[in-house]
Amino acid sequence: MVILRLAGLALVLVISLLFAVFVGDQGPWYFAWVIGTVMIILISGAGAILFDAQTDDSAESEV
Amino acid sequence: MELYVILKLIWATILCVLLIGLGLMVGMDMGVGTLLRFVGRNDGERRTALNIIGPHWDGNQVWFILGGGAIFAAFPTLYATSFSVFYVVMILLLFSMILRPVAFEYRSKADSKLWRASWDWVFLVSGFLPMFIYGAAFGNILEGVGYHFGWNGQYYQDDSFFSYLLSPFVVLCGLMSVALSVYQGGVMLMLRSENPIYDRAQRYATRGGILAAVLFAIGGVFISRMKGFMMTEPANPAMPANPLHGQHVAHTAGAWLHNFTAHPVLWVLPLLGLTSMVLGTVAVRHNKSVVAWWVGLGSWVGTIGTVAAAMFPFFMPSTTAPDQSLTIWNSCASAYGLTCMLVVALIFVPLILCYTSWCYYVMRGKVRTADIIHDSHSY
């Protein structure tokens, strides 16, 4: 089971690497879109989690 | 056979399958829309009926978009000419099609009686009209359309749109398509609803099935007698896709039976259509709604298969310039384009079928009026 999972993970990694190399080569802006969108989502999510941390610390939860 | 010819044939077949899928799946939703005011006597019941197709109508409607997209990509000349020649009808179809998504999403989002009653009427119109036009379009192309092409490929229309609407055969085809959609919509309601909706749906599905069978039989008589089209010299299937050259077409009575006479095995198709409609009605009467749903597929295969068998290789014959009639051979895309599209379709269609079935699986089960009223996500 563990081996299967690892194999699955490896497959996903290989495919994303191939995808990244191909798209990065042929369509650099498409590649930038993929990376950029992920980054935008992560940063805005991190902002929300930071908000939770900020308001947990201060008893006075000013927004 | 040349590769190009095989590609043309494959795409003509795909188009047929799409038209069948469209008739079946979109027709089903449209049928529910048409029946909405009749199977649901109060707001709760109507919402139940809507939510039965609620999770899937959007995906089904994509069949319709896809039908348009496939014609555009695989048969650009057919797309360009037919959509323009049938302008007024197409615009009406479009109006009723764009009202539907909005009706679904908006109907139950406000409480006013007038608001909901208005959207219920929208469902009736946008269920009935598109199916009527869908059927009528088949009637029109069987009768032939008046148009010709200029030297650069621009089309010119030779008769007004009224002449497309006012033929009894066209009206018959339209009504038959509505009847089939009412049948399929009724069966879908039976599958996923309880009384009192179930009983009413059963009644309407029965009527739809019988009416479709009767109209199909009468339509058959019409087709055998009307002026059809046939090639006077064998066409070259590998011809370049340009309707201006290379065909000789005759416009004569009984020509639509030509293919059936040459290949008697084709009679299977009308037979399949007629038996499916009759058997389906019987299944509905005996509460076998799953069987009835699948038999409904047979009706569509039989109906559209019959039209395709009669017309092959014509798509949209021209009454005023028969030699310029659009056929599978002269209205298609380039070999490169058809190959491209085929590869894409081979990758994505199986994928689509997988996730669509998964969706149905997740949302399976009966829809109850009480659930709907409590669930804030429902239509």
């Binding site: 369509g27 802006w29 930038a32 879109w33 950029g36 969108t37 935008i40 989502i41 940063i43 805005s44 902002g47 929300a48 930071l50 939770d52 308001t55 000013e62 927004v63 | 999770p55 995906g59 994509v62 978009i65 997209g69 555009f72 990509a73 650009p76 797309y79 360009a80 037919s82 959509f83 323009s84 479009l94 109006f95 009202l99 998504p101 909005v102 999403e105 406000a110 650069n152 490929g153 621009q154 089309y155 309880e194 340009n242 201006l244 380039s334 384009g337 491209c340 894409v344 994505f348 689509i352 996730y355 669509t356 969706c359 997740v362 949302m363 109850r368 409590h374 804030s376 996500h377 429902s378």
Partner: protein, 536 residues
């Protein structure tokens, strides 16, 4: 005689512009809001805090209201190529139809199927499965935009197709060229990210409204934070890609870039100013007044200090030999189409690249037939055709400027909002909150201006340098056009009224009214099933 009626062409253009602009009011929000929903739900799945689920559901509801009209009005666009642009569809459909069909197969199907599950599947799917569904909806709607913009880019920079005299149309010959067309790439990213900006400001503005009113504070502050950060990065991306598109146009569509900059005469680097405001006069072919910033234009477009940018007058003069050669090409093509003589084909191939300019001249030829131009009248036809190669400078110039000014404003607004939100000082900045609230429609406006810049700047062509807009329309009668225009006007007015009514209604109601009192701790579904027998 089959003549093109200019009134019908104008009405067709008007109808297409109207329906496309209308469709495009709803699309950007869909493109961005889906990814914002995905971001919110991601936080919910990672932290397990229910407030993020409420956020995803509430904004999801507003998304649904918007999505329905986006889908509905999109159907119009697919129809209209056939119903109103018959010649265009026949001429270019072999290539153009492919991305549209792929859009249906690959993206639209995915988006539409999963959007049902996204709304209805909360209680039927596991948390990660539902999250995956939300991501698929987001990906689907953006892939949809990708294919549409690939198609659109092929009109602006036709690559991957060539004209074939046998079939009298453009034959598709390279899928890779079409998909990886640099114009398509930057157009897609620019448009998709512009959608992110619209959605971010939409969420930020409504959240600001709640904070101002002191309602749903926890909910609104979190939404505001996420939206502000989402928006600031997106705005940077939108501006970057806008710059890339500008450089692309400079190479591939010089008339568009000259019109955008209101540049009547070739620029003199490095001094040439970038015009901030002017009053371009298309009839007199000059600007009535100009306010500019010196030394900016050349580096802005060419990214160096010494490349001259060709002006509109010079472009017009450069077109003259192409028009003459194009007339030869079209005449030969017509003769070839009728008689199939090899000699005519040879003449055509010699002038093939200028064919579009020959089509452009048909409008000024006697009986709209270039073969019928008498030798004595040739010069006059060429002179009359010359100004036709320019787009409307006033419209292109101002649409572009308004878009840019708005983008800079968003940049400032998001930057300040992010800062204030990160400092948790929103409540003290009432003015900022009001500004956010009133700015909700502005990104929609900016994307519309962007669309006008791109498409008005493409004129007079539907397929750049190949097929003029004038020849592309269907040969309808004026009454047909009036019928459809009236229908669109009525229907679309009803739609916008219904949409705004519901949007305001649900935005005012706020997130709490949206969930049942039991919330998701007791799934509404189970709750309802237990009371189901009462319905019989």
């Amino acid at each position: 005689m089959d003549l093109i009626n200019p009134t019908v062409v104008d009405l067709s253009r008007f109808q297409f512009a109207l329906t496309a602009l209308y469709h495009f009011m709803f699309v950007p929000l869909t493109l961005g809001l889906t990814f914002m929903l995905a971001a919110m739900e991601t936080v919910y799945v990672v932290t397990g805090r229910k407030i993020y689920k409420e956020m995803a559901q509430f904004w999801g509801k507003l998304f649904g209201i918007n999505f329905a009209i986006g889908v509905a009005t999109g159907i119009t666009m697919e129809f209209e190529f056939g119903t109103n642009w018959s010649m265009y569809s026949r001429f270019f459909g072999d290539m153009f139809g492919t991305p549209l069909a792929i859009e249906g197969l690959m993206a639209f199907f995915m988006e539409s199927t999963f959007v049902g599950l996204m709304f209805f599947g909360w209680d039927r799917l596991s948390k990660p499965a539902h999250l995956a569904v939300t991501y698929l909806v987001a990906l689907g709607s953006n892939l949809s935009a990708l294919w549409i913009l690939v198609a659109n880019a092929s009109m602006n920079v036709p690559e991957g197709a060539h004209f074939d005299p046998e079939t009298m149309r453009m034959q598709f010959d390279s899928f890779v060229h079409v998909v990886f067309n640099p114009d398509a790439q930057s157009k897609f990213v620019h448009t998709s990210v512009a959608g992110y900006v619209s959605a971010a400001l939409f969420v930020m503005g409504i959240s600001a409204f709640y904070i101002l009113r002191g309602q749903h504070k926890q909910f609104a502050a979190r939404s505001f934070r996420m939206a502000a950060l989402f928006g600031i990065i997106s705005t940077v991306a939108v501006i970057t890609l806008g710059d890339v598109l500008g450089r692309m146009d400079y190479e591939k569509q010089p008339t568009k870039i000259a019109a955008i900059e209101g540049l009547w005469h070739t620029s003199k680097p490095p001094y040439e100013p970038w015009i901030l405001a002017a009053l371009p006069d298309d009839a007199k072919q000059e600007n009535h007044f100009e306010i500019g910033v010196p030394f900016v234009l050349t580096p802005l477009i060419a990214h160096d200090f010494n490349t001259p940018i060709t002006g509109l007058h010079e472009l017009e003069d450069a077109a003259e030999p192409r028009i003459r050669s194009g007339i030869e090409a079209v005449s030969a093509l017509r003769r070839y189409g009728e008689t199939h003589q090899q000699a005519d084909l040879d003449i055509f191939h010699a002038h093939e690249n200028d064919m579009g300019y020959g089509f452009l001249a048909t409008r000024h030829a006697p009986g709209q037939d270039v073969t019928a131009i008498p030798a004595a009248a040739l010069d006059q036809v060429v002179q009359e055709t010359k100004p036709d190669i320019l787009p409307n400078v006033f419209v292109t110039f101002w649409a572009f400027r308004l878009m840019v000014f708005l983008a800079l404003y968003f940049f400032a607004l998001f930057a300040i909002s992010s800062y204030v939100s990160l400092k948790n000082k929103l409540e003290r900045n009432k003015l900022l909150l009001r500004l956010c609230m009133w700015s909700i429609p502005l990104p929609i406006l900016a994307t519309e201006f962007g669309w006008i810049t791109a498409e008005a700047g493409r004129q007079p062509w539907t397929v750049f340098n190949k097929l003029p807009t004038f020849m592309s329309a269907s040969t309808h009668s004026v009454s047909y056009m009036l019928f459809s225009l009236a229908g669109f006007a009525v229907l679309y007015s009803i739609f916008i009224a219904a949409e705004l009514y519901l949007m305001f209604k649900f935005a005012r109601l706020g997130p709490e009214a949206h969930d049942t009192p039991h919330d998701s701790a007791t799934p509404t579904h189970l709750h309802a099933v237990s009371s189901a027998p009462a319905a019989h």
